[in-house]
Each structure stands twice: as structure tokens, then as C-alpha cells.
């Protein structure tokens, strides 16, 4: 993560040169600095900084989209025009290993389509979620693993 420090320094330099010590100046400096580092990326072989930041941004956008979709689905079902409520408690075997991966996955699950993370087993191999539209528990399990967990692991590893 040394490139992050360099990137922040470049942003600081941009702010100093422009004498614009505010949020817009920082954002502009950070984006410009990132672009410069990206152009110079042959200098840093094996650096995962770019993939991580871009992956992080893409993940955030995807998550916001999912929050809208899920809030819409839950809202429709509350008013009585959406899918019938068919809750279930489902165990999901975890491929995520570190604390950060599991935390991010659990938080994302809570914020997205009709699912809510409830508990992680003490051996950290299983995540228990409560799903609201789980007529078929295996589909929910497969979708969570293939959709969310795959995205998180691809971004972080």
C-alpha cells in the first residue's frame, strides 16, 4: 500500500500548488495523482494498488445499486404487491477467511436483497443468514456465494 501514500502526497502537492485546501482540491489532486501513477505503472511490477482501488469503486457502485433493488423488493412486498414473504434461516459455508473479508461480506449481505446476516459460527466456517424470499434456500445460497462473495474475494485477493 505504499502507492497509496505516494498518491496522497501527490494530492497534497496539488493542493499546495493550487492553494486550494478544500475537498474539491483534494479530490482533483487525488484523481490526477492516481492517473499519473497509473501511467507509470510499469515501474511498479506486481503492484495490486490499481486493481484494488478500481475494484473497490466498482464494488461500491454495485452495492449501491443492490441496495436500491433490495429496498424496492422489500417495499413492494410490504405494500402487498411483491413476492410473498417466505422467510428461512440459511447456513452459508464461507470461503472468506480473514476478519475483513467476513465483516465486509456480512455487512453487504445485510444491506442487500432480502437477506440479513445473523451469526458467524465460532470456527468462522459458516455464516447464518435470514432470508425473506427463500422459497428455495439452495438458490439463495448459490446466488450469495456466486454473486457477493465472489466479487469481494476477487476485489481483495
Amino acid at each position: 500500500m505504499n502507492l497509496l501514500v505516494v498518491n496522497l502526497l501527490l494530492a497534497l502537492a496539488w493542493m499546495a500548488v493550487n492553494a486550494s485546501f478544500n475537498l474539491m482540491g483534494f479530490i482533483a489532486g487525488f484523481i490526477l495523482g492516481h492517473l499519473i501513477l497509473w501511467l507509470a505503472r510499469p515501474l511498479f511490477p506486481g503492484e495490486r494498488y490499481f486493481r484494488r482501488t478500481w475494484g473497490g469503486c466498482a464494488y461500491m457502485l454495485w452495492l449501491v445499486k443492490e441496495i436500491f433493488v433490495s429496498a424496492w423488493a422489500v417495499a413492494k412486498s410490504v405494500i402487498g404487491v411483491g413476492d410473498a414473504v417466505k422467510p428461512a434461516v440459511i447456513a452459508i459455508p464461507l470461503d472468506a477467511k480473514t476478519d475483513f473479508e467476513i465483516t465486509l461480506l456480512a455487512c453487504s449481505i445485510t444491506l442487500t436483497p432480502g437477506t440479513l446476516s445473523m451469526d458467524v459460527s465460532p470456527d468462522r466456517r459458516t455464516l447464518y443468514i435470514h432470508a425473506m424470499f427463500a422459497a428455495d434456500p439452495d438458490t439463495v445460497r448459490a446466488e450469495t456465494k456466486a454473486g457477493m462473495e465472489r466479487r469481494i474475494l476477487e476485489m481483495l485477493r
Binding site: N22, L23, M24, I67, F68, S70, A71, V74, A75, V78, I79, V85, K86, P87, A88, V89, I90, A91, A106, C107, S108, T110, L111, G114, L116, S117, M118, D119, S121, P122, T126, Y128, H130, M132, A134, A135, P137
Partner: protein, 119 residues
Amino acid sequence: MADLIQALIGILAVGGAVFCLIAAIGVVRLPDALTRMHASSKAGTLGCGLILLSVALFFPGIDVVARAAAAILFLLLTTPVSAHMIGRAIYATGAPLWKGTGVDELKGTQDDPARRLGQ
């Protein structure tokens, strides 16, 4: 242009309020505590987030935008944490789930909090 932004602010505020109301209706209408939590954690977060977004658009200064962004981020960070805590507490109290609940793959396993806490 200014009028357009004002209209956008109004629409965002009403949209957020509608989602807040839907969350409340969900909390009243849905059958058990865990399903009610779905309504409050999703619709509630989105509603409050939209309203905070309209605040960020309304005031001109960068400091207000930063504070509103911080509030939205804080909401997105705390909602899952409190939902997790509440979910565990609900399950630990051993209150029966709604009769329409399908499978319960946690019940009776060694990870069942009702059992784990009893030890």
C-alpha cells in the same frame, strides 16, 4: 437551473420520506421480528440516506456536503452492525419464528446461540 435543483431536492425528500413510511408500515405489518428487521434495515436506511442527500444538495457550502456524506457513510456502516446485534438478540431470546418460516438451518446445531449462551 436553480429551480431544477430545488425540484430535485423536493423529489429526493419525498422519495426518502416514502421509503421511511414503507419501513414503518413493514415494521407494523410483517409477521415476526426478523422479517420486520428486513423492512427497517433496508427501507429505513435508503429513506434516511435519500433525505440526507437532499440536505447535501440544498446547502451550498462544501462543509455541509462533507457532513452529509459522513452521515450517510455512518448510516451505511452502523446499520449492518446493529442489524447483526439485533438478529442475534432476537434469536437468543428463543422467541418462536413465524409459522410460515421455511427451513431453519441454525436451530439445534452447535452454533445455535440459544444453546451456546446456555452453556
